[in-house]
Subunit: 155 residues, 2 copies
DNA sequence: AGTGAAAAACAATGGCG
DNA sequence: CGCCATTGTTTTTCACT
């Protein structure tokens, strides 16, 4: 379902993922288009799902969330049922920002954000490890975050 | 600069990071507040920096970005100058969505999104490895992404 | 494809209970 | 904080090129 995007669309997407608070008129100035056309194109991009949604990006520090960790999880006995349970649990855990299955020796990579190390310990020891499917957990803590914008590279 | 947040604020933040396209009236319905109060609280949250910005979240697939990888980078001779260069380069690379320094045996963890494996190879072999500071690079490719919302857990 | 102007929806303020 | 009214923006639609 890949709609053909022209230069205007790409510029519009780039501007919107950078700052979705811009008005259509402001966007129009940036990409050289009238506000009405910006509106029309934006609607199309929303309908086709290229723009998935709009989100407020919050400041973790202000909210007391000081610990970001990357947690590699290895599953043990590969029962399908247990693996399914694990995935559902991970999806439901608010502390988990991202969860991916990986190539290599680690099955899952989780990005976790919590208040403090105690909370991380709780998540690992009381939530992840008790899962039947989980064989091993190895966590690395982010000491410094250089970049965290999650902006897609739009050629 | 931690402003005291009450239950309304927390609910408002949760709603906004989930869906920033909601109008103040709609937000008011969700959290049981009048539109005008939503407007005032939202402004305060923006001014204090708890809401950092608004962003459009785009669909990587539609944009032909099929490969997500986690790349662990180990630096070699720890010359401050080379490490600084490395950090600046990483910050400037559009393919890098996130970059963190980590505890453990890997110095940096990069989350990289690119079009295909060839592009990943290019980034690693032609951009990262030639850096003087870089000693070793190990990448894991995300085969499946269960969750990628990057929503902060608001207790 | 595009513009510009009118109409509709919305956000932001102020006053009052 | 709710409610209401007002004002100014902004989005969306429409007629037209």
């Amino acid at each position: 379902m890949s709609i053909a995007l022209d230069g205007y669309d790409v510029k519009l997407l780039a501007a919107l993922q950078e700052n979705a608070a811009l008005t259509n008129a402001e966007l129009g100035e940036v990409i050289n288009l009238s506000a009405s056309q910006v509106s029309r194109r934006r609607q199309k991009l929303e309908e086709t799902g290229i723009i998935r949604r709009y989100r407020a990006s919050l400041d973790p520090e202000s909210l007391g969330l000081t610990v970001t960790a990357f947690v590699g999880v290895t599953l043990g006995a590969h029962s399908k049922e247990n693996a399914r349970k694990f995935r559902n649990m991970v999806k439901a855990m608010p502390e988990v920002q991202e969860a991916h299955t990986l190539t290599g020796d680690v099955d899952y990579m989780l990005k976790i954000v919590v208040r403090d190390l105690k909370a991380l310990s709780h998540v690992i020891n009381d939530e992840l490890l008790p899962q039947e499917a989980v064989h091993n957990v190895r966590s690395s803590i982010a000491m410094d975050t250089l970049k965290d914008d999650n902006l897609l590279p739009l050629v």
